[in-house]
C-alpha cells in the first residue's frame, strides 16, 4: 500500500511524464465521459427528481404541482408510515445483529483447517448468488401455512401439535422475514470476514498461546482488533441493503399481515406504483435518506480508520 503510494508520487514528479500534464485534465475528462454521463443522467438526476417529486402531488399519468411539505405532513400523521419506520428499524437491527454474529461464527469455522474446505466455502455462498426473489419463492413454499416441511418435521418429532402459521400471524411473520433475511445475508458477511481472517498470521496466535492466553482472549485481543475495520465496512453494507430491502418482503408477505412487515421501501412502492401516488411514494423514499446518510458516514469513518491503521503499521 505504502509502496504503491510512493511510486505514485514518484511517478507524478518524474520529468518523463511532464509534457502529459497539460493534457491530463482533458484526457481524464474524455475517459470519464461515458461513466459520468450515465451516472449523471440515471443516478444524480433521478436523486434530485425524487426529492422534487416529494414536494409535488404527482400521480401516474398526471404531472403534479408544487405543494410544499404537504406529503411530509400527511406522512407525519400517517400511523402506517410510522409503523413502517418501526418495522424497518426492527428488521434492520435484528437482522444485522444476527447476520453479524452468525456470519462471524461461520467465518471462524471456515478459517479452521478443514476437509473439503474449498467446496464448503463455495456452497456456503450459494444463498447470496441465487436470485433473492427465486430463493424467496422457495421459502414461501417452505413457510406454507398447511404444507410447510418445517411444521411437518416438527410435528413428526412431536415438538408441536398443529402447523406453525409462519406468515399469517404478525409476530411470526416478523420473525420469519427477519430469519429469511439473515439466511440470505450470512454468506456475504462470512466470506468477506473470512478474507480478513486469512490475513491474520498464525504466529500471533501461537505467541499469545505461549504467553498463556485463553482462546477467548486470543479472539478478543487479536482477531477482533485486526478485523474491526473490515467489520465496520461489511456491516455498513449489510445495514444499508437490509434497510432498503424490498424483494424479500414483496415476495413473502407484501407487507402483511396487518402491515406488520411493511418496510419503508415496500410502502413507498405500494403507494407509488399500484397506488399511483408518485409524490407520496417519493416522499417516503426521501425519508429513508437520513438513515442511509448515517450509515454512509459510519462507513466513511470506518474506511478512514483503516487507512490510518495501514499507515500506522508501515
Amino acid at each position: 500500500m505504502a509502496g504503491a503510494a510512493l511510486t505514485r508520487t514518484d511517478a507524478s514528479t518524474m520529468p518523463v511524464r511532464e509534457p502529459l500534464l497539460q493534457r491530463r485534465g482533458f484526457l481524464g475528462l474524455l475517459f470519464m465521459l461515458p461513466a459520468a454521463a450515465f451516472l449523471l443522467i440515471f443516478l444524480t438526476y433521478p436523486l434530485g427528481l425524487g426529492v422534487w417529486l416529494g414536494f409535488t402531488d404527482t400521480r401516474v399519468g398526471r404531472p403534479g404541482v408544487f405543494i410544499g411539505l404537504e406529503n411530509y405532513q400527511l406522512l407525519w400523521e400517517d400511523s402506517l408510515f410510522w409503523l413502517a419506520v418501526f418495522n424497518t428499524i426492527l428488521y434492520t437491527v435484528a437482522a444485522s445483529i444476527l447476520k453479524f454474529a452468525l456470519g462471524l461464527w461461520l467465518a471462524l469455522l471456515l478459517n479452521e483447517h478443514l476437509l473439503f474446505k474449498a467446496l464448503i466455502r463455495a456452497v456456503v455462498l450459494l444463498p447470496w448468488v441465487v436470485p433473492t426473489v427465486l430463493s424467496a419463492i422457495a421459502f414461501w413454499w417452505i413457510y406454507d401455512a398447511q404444507f410447510s416441511v418445517i411444521s411437518w418435521s416438527l410435528m413428526k418429532i412431536g415438538l408441536i401439535q398443529s402447523p406453525i402459521n409462519f406468515l399469517g400471524d404478525t409476530t411470526n411473520a416478523r420473525i420469519t422475514v427477519i430469519l429469511t433475511n439473515v439466511w440470505r445475508g450470512i454468506p456475504f458477511v462470512a466470506i468477506t470476514l473470512l478474507a480478513g481472517l486469512q490475513t491474520i498470521s498464525p504466529s500471533l496466535h501461537e505467541a499469545a498461546t505461549l504467553d498463556g492466553a485463553t482462546s477467548w482472549q486470543r479472539f478478543r485481543f487479536i482477531t477482533l482488533p485486526v478485523l474491526s475495520p473490515l467489520i465496520a465496512v461489511v456491516m455498513t453494507f449489510s445495514v444499508l441493503f437490509t434497510f432498503t430491502d424490498f424483494q424479500l418482503i414483496y415476495v413473502l408477505t407484501r407487507g402483511g399481515p396487518l402491515n406488520a412487515t411493511h418496510l419503508m421501501a415496500t410502502l413507498s412502492f405500494q403507494r407509488a406504483i399500484p397506488g399511483g401516488q408518485l409524490g407520496e411514494g417519493a416522499a417516503i423514499a426521501v425519508a429513508m435518506v437520513p438513515f442511509l446518510l448515517g450509515a454512509i458516514l459510519f462507513s466513511y469513518f470506518g474506511l478512514q480508520r483503516r487507512r490510518w491503521q495501514q499507515g500506522g503499521k508501515d
Binding site: 461513466a35 426473489v133 419463492i137 454468506p187 412502492f269
Partner: protein
C-alpha cells in the same frame, strides 16, 4: 498456513487456530464440524427443497402421509415441460439474458475507462471522483425507482428491455469502477512508463498493457455484474408491464401465481431454472467471484 515445528505444551496449545493439529478429534467434531454441518444444512436446504418440489408430480406435493416429503417417489419433468411450452418462460429467460449481457457490457466499457482515468490519468479532482463513485455505489435502487420510472416514461422506453439496460448500469458502473480501480492500482507504474517512453499513447497503454494484465479483474467484474443484473428485481418489476418483456424473477412471481391456486411445482421449476445460469457461472468462477466480493469491500 504454516505450522510451527517448535515443541508446544499440549495443554496450552489446546484449540488454537494455527495449531489445530494438536486438537483431539472428538472435541473438533463438536466445536467445528457439528456447527458447520448445521450451517451448511440450513443454507442449502431451501435449494434442495426447491429441486425436489420441481420434480414431484402434483399428487405428491401435498400428500405427506403416503409419500415421504424428502424424496420424490416418481420424479417427473411435467412442471418443466409446462414451464417451457405453455408459459412465456423461455422468452423471460431470453429477456433476462439480453438485459444482463447488454448492461454488463455497457457498464464494463464505461467502468474500464473511468477506472483508468481515476487511477492512472490522475486528472485534477480524480480523488474526489473516486469518492463520488464509491458513494454512487451506496445509493440503493429502492429510493431511485420512482423518479426513474417517471424519466423512463418520458423517454418513451417504458416496458422495453432498453429501460432495464439503461438503468442497471446505475449500480453496475460504480461497482465495476471501484473493483477495477483496485486492479489497476496493483499494476506497476513502470510498465506504463516504459510504454510512454516508447511513444505509446494513453489509449494504446490502456488496450495493449493495462487490459491484458487485468483480465482476472475484468472477469470478476463481468460475472459479478452479470449476476447482479440477473438478480435485479425492483426496476424490472416497475418498468416492465407486458408479459413477454418480463425478466425471470418478475415473470415467475407475477405470472405463475394466479389467484389462490399456487402451482408449486411450476413455481419451483421456474425458480430452479432461473437460478441455474448464475449458479453455473458461479461454479466455474468461484475464486473470481469471491475476490470481487471481498475486493469491493476491502477499500
Amino acid at each position: 498456513m504454516t505450522y510451527s515445528a517448535r515443541p508446544i505444551d499440549p495443554t496450552l496449545a489446546d484449540e488454537s487456530v494455527g495449531m489445530s493439529y494438536l486438537e483431539r478429534l472428538p472435541r473438533r467434531m463438536v466445536m467445528v464440524y457439528l456447527p458447520l454441518a448445521i450451517f451448511v444444512f440450513v443454507l442449502l436446504f431451501p435449494f434442495y427443497w426447491m429441486a425436489i418440489t420441481a420434480l414431484k408430480p402434483n399428487a405428491e406435493l401435498t400428500n405427506f402421509r403416503e409419500y415421504s416429503p424428502f424424496w420424490p417417489s416418481s420424479p417427473t419433468l411435467q412442471h418443466v415441460r409446462y414451464l417451457l411450452f405453455e408459459t412465456s418462460y423461455p422468452s423471460w429467460l431470453l429477456n433476462t439474458m439480453i438485459v444482463a449481457v447488454g448492461s454488463t457490457i455497457l457498464s464494463l466499457a464505461a467502468a474500464v475507462l473511468a477506472a483508468y482515468a481515476i487511477e492512472r490519468v490522475r486528472f485534477p479532482g480524480s480523488r474526489w471522483t473516486g469518492l463520488a463513485v464509491f458513494l454512487a455505489y451506496l445509493v440503493p435502487p429502492s429510493i431511485l425507482f420512482i423518479p426513474l420510472a417517471v424519466m423512463i416514461f418520458k423517454f418513451g422506453i417504458y416496458d422495453t428491455k432498453l429501460a432495464l439496460i439503461f438503468t442497471y448500469p446505475t449500480f453496475l458502473i460504480p461497482f465495476c469502477t471501484w473493483l477495477l480501480m483496485g486492479y489497476f492500482r496493483s499494476i506497476p507504474y513502470e510498465l506504463e512508463e516504459c510504454a510512454l517512453v516508447d511513444g505509446a499513447s494513453r489509449w494504446q497503454i490502456l488496450t495493449r498493457i493495462m487490459l491484458p494484465l487485468s483480465v482476472p479483474g475484468l472477469i470478476s467484474a463481468g460475472i459479478f455484474a452479470f449476476t447482479l443484473s440477473w438478480n435485479e428485481f425492483i426496476y424490472a418489476l416497475t418498468f416492465i408491464q407486458s408479459s413477454e418483456n418480463k425478466t425471470v424473477p418478475v415473470g415467475v412471481l407475477t405470472e405463475l401465481v394466479r389467484g389462490d391456486v399456487y402451482e408449486w411445482g411450476a413455481l419451483m421449476a421456474g425458480a430452479l431454472l432461473g437460478s441455474l445460469p448464475v449458479v453455473l457461472l458461479y461454479s466455474f468462477f468461484v475464486d473470481y467471484y469471491v475476490s470481487s466480493m471481498t475486493g469491493a469491500v476491502k477499500e
